[in-house]
Amino acid sequence: MQNTHSKEYAIETKSLFIFYGSFAAVSEVNIKIEKRKITAIIGPSGCGKSTLLRSFNRMNDFVPSSYVTGEIRLHGQNLYSKDIDPVEVRRKIGMVFQKPNPFPKSIYENIAWGARINGFKGNMDELVEQSLRNAALWEEVRDKLKKSAYELSGGQQQRLCIARTIAIQPEIILMDEPASALDPIATLKIEELMQELKKNYTIIIVTHNMQQAARVSDYTAMMMLTEDRRSGTVIEYDDTKKIFTNPKDKRTEDYVTGRFG
């Protein structure tokens, strides 16, 4: 599980365990996520991929009785240390969810709201336009910014959610199966967008779709339930190419070749 290619890391975990009550959903994860790359987390259902992803911006805090041991480091600072405010973490590490979830407001307001509550002082119109351009949505919505976000198609809504996330200028964008509710064309647009976004942002994506992981990601973390079948962990983490062509772990090979899972 060594990543030997790069120097600059966005996130590092150190013997990370994530518990729901007394149950460890994820155990012993040690990975380093490289900056401005796309890292995919793959694995069978129920192995803790989403749980791991959500721990990166402390979204698991909302699950009662969940807690974390070990460390998740951003700039050498443990995100779970007592003096860190989870709101600040989420400001720096944005998230795109499985199902598009725009606010039931106008397209403009969807982008502006996050910036406004975070105290944005600049030109809001400019920020909205820039965010929509970066999310490859501007041309489609420039004439209907005041319309409800619900009038957009599913794929457009998901890109709006990405625009909303990048509007608050995070360092890292977490994507939890962002295309699983979309058709192939909308999925392709999201994937192209991710390639653009990685020039400026670190992206971590959970996906069920192995072709998608192979297409879009630079690194892949393979997760699997441990032998006793109770807790998920990262069994292999490497270059995407290596994971899909020459995995070290037999279980990874079985999974990516479709023999299992």
Binding site: R90, W113, I117
Partner: protein
Amino acid sequence: MNPNHDHFPEGDSFRQSLSGRYRTASIWRTLFLSALVIAIISLAALLYNVIDGAFGYVAYEYKNDPAEFTPKPLDDLNQPELLAILKANLSSGAYNKLNNEKPMEKRSKADLYTLTLERLIQIDTKQNWSLTESLLRGAEIRAEVAEKYPKAKLEFRSWITPVFLTTPMSSKAEFAGVRTAILGSLWMVGIAILFALPIGTGAAIYLQEYADKNFINRVIQTNINNLAGVPSIVYGMLGLAIFVRVLEPLTSGSLFGVTDSNGRTIFSAGLTMGVLVLPLIIINAQEAIKAVPDSLRQAAYGVGATKWQTVWYHVLPNAIAGILTGSILALSRALGETAPLIVVGASTFISLDPDGPFSKFTALPIQIYQWTTRAQSEFHAIAASAIIVLLVLLLTLNAAAILLRNRYQRKY
């Protein structure tokens, strides 16, 4: 072949068992349908009963012959003529009292006409009949009246009239109205909602968004659910003990310089009703808040919102229609409650409009209750009319709730 295959019926025996299944189904269907029919019949009977009482023939006599006061027929008199008749025939004390309530010159013709009938000619209702009787036995009734009350006039009357809505209480059924009661009811539910809506919504937000799922909070939740089912008279006792007695300086208004009242005011009644509907409002608001999808909360948290910002900017705006709908339905319960008002001390006879939270008051259900307990059947007719007024008010509230819900229904 699978050995279990042989255990399923085939052919005729299958079709036989199938027709047995359909038979069972049709029996149940009939039972459900009859349940519905019974429900509809009960409702129809209720409506029939009310409407039956509110319309019908009435036979009345004039105690004093109108000819004693004027040579013209009463209906042809104009306002100045009526005024002159009243001035000439009322005692000066009675005239001055009326004049103090509202200057006589400024009163409308209809108002003066009513006064003339009430004070001078004086109607004596001999007998009244229900709508059904009036329709089915019209000829018999006319014959009966001609025989028993040769001097009486017989007329088909709707007891519910615009005048009925706008006149205050009177000791004569013909001249009694529900204005005081309607105003009392409106004041009361107004105070109740001002008290219960903010508190109920606040409690619901706390329970739904902030409270941990621990033992104490579960106990609180269970008790709120139970409180919604506590008999209303118990809330009346609570209102009497707390609002009328303990908090009398507040509820009588003496803290605010009101001197001539005790704790049995609209304010006490409104607070009692507020406490009564509080559990309903909390439960409804919780449901409305629960209906806001978690994905919306996560979206807000995802862009760095605090809990408060999430609740204030997303959860509440999306739940507010549901909260208001629930509150309106809770209010319609308060509007129809009688028992707590009796305990808190609603006045049964009051002809002065309430002029503020510290007035004595009556309310529609109290008025209805009081009229139905009277022996004279004409009071039962105006009770039926007041029930129609109350039902219309309730239906209006419920319609408002439905409109609000449809207008703001969201699709996530």
